[in-house]
Assembly symmetry: C2
């Protein structure tokens, strides 16, 4: 965490090698950090998933978003079966390095339920209301 701690006081424009950052991320027990995908155009938060170092590197190298699936214990290129891919527009890590924000160009629905976004369970008073129907198709 030395590298991240040192960057806390850094001014705009300071930089470190990407590899050095990857060496210093506080991956959890499963080797993962949280990954937030945000639509680069609408700025809607689409989903939260998980990445390990390999998924991060593949995403940067290919320009298409890869995650690590905890339930299936495998890498997963977003949209590889559905066609609902995420093209990477930008990637930024947070202050303590346990989360990464992906700005993406989303093709089709981001959610496996066929909704544009995953955050469709909206709290309204004492109820939780579904705020979007699954898309047709």
């Amino acid at each position: 965490m030395g590298l991240l701690k040192n960057l806390e006081g850094a001014v705009k424009g300071a930089s470190v090698p990407f590899d050095a950052l990857l060496d210093n991320l506080p991956y959890n027990d499963q080797g993962l950090i949280a990954a937030i995908a945000q639509d680069a155009t609408s700025h809607q938060v689409l989903m939260l998933a998980w990445m390990d170092r390999t998924a991060i590197e593949r995403t940067i190298n290919e320009g298409q978003v890869w995650y690590f699936s905890r339930s299936r214990n495998t890498y997963w290129r977003k949209g590889e079966s559905s066609g609902h891919t995420q093209q990477l527009i930008s990637m930024a890590f947070d202050c303590d390095g346990d989360a990464v924000l992906l700005e993406v160009k989303q093709t089709g629905p981001a959610c496996h339920t066929n909704r544009h976004h995953c955050f469709y369970l909206q709290v309204q008073g004492q109820q939780v209301v579904v705020n979007a129907s699954p898309e047709e198709g």
Copy 2:
């Protein structure tokens, strides 16, 4: 997970009691889910932190965001020491219930480094570049 699974196919406007949702969230080993705070006006993603059921309930009841600090093992009302509070505008859970999106009205910087947001470590080619300086104050 039955309740969440049942909601996957639900159309817009369907609802369940909030308590029932809280009973059915897949809290991790530490009893937590991931919480994303997004500026309700600018739509900038400000930070990622963690909430347990109590933090979620306090946030709804008080209209001010509470998190659970893993490093300090305690509840933490955002801004309680810094004054940089988050007023809750809306709260929505994702399809599998392991993440919650908080739209907030942020007072002052959201990041403990005194930046407006935590995601200031931007990947640019083989470098990671600091995209914001700490604010004065």
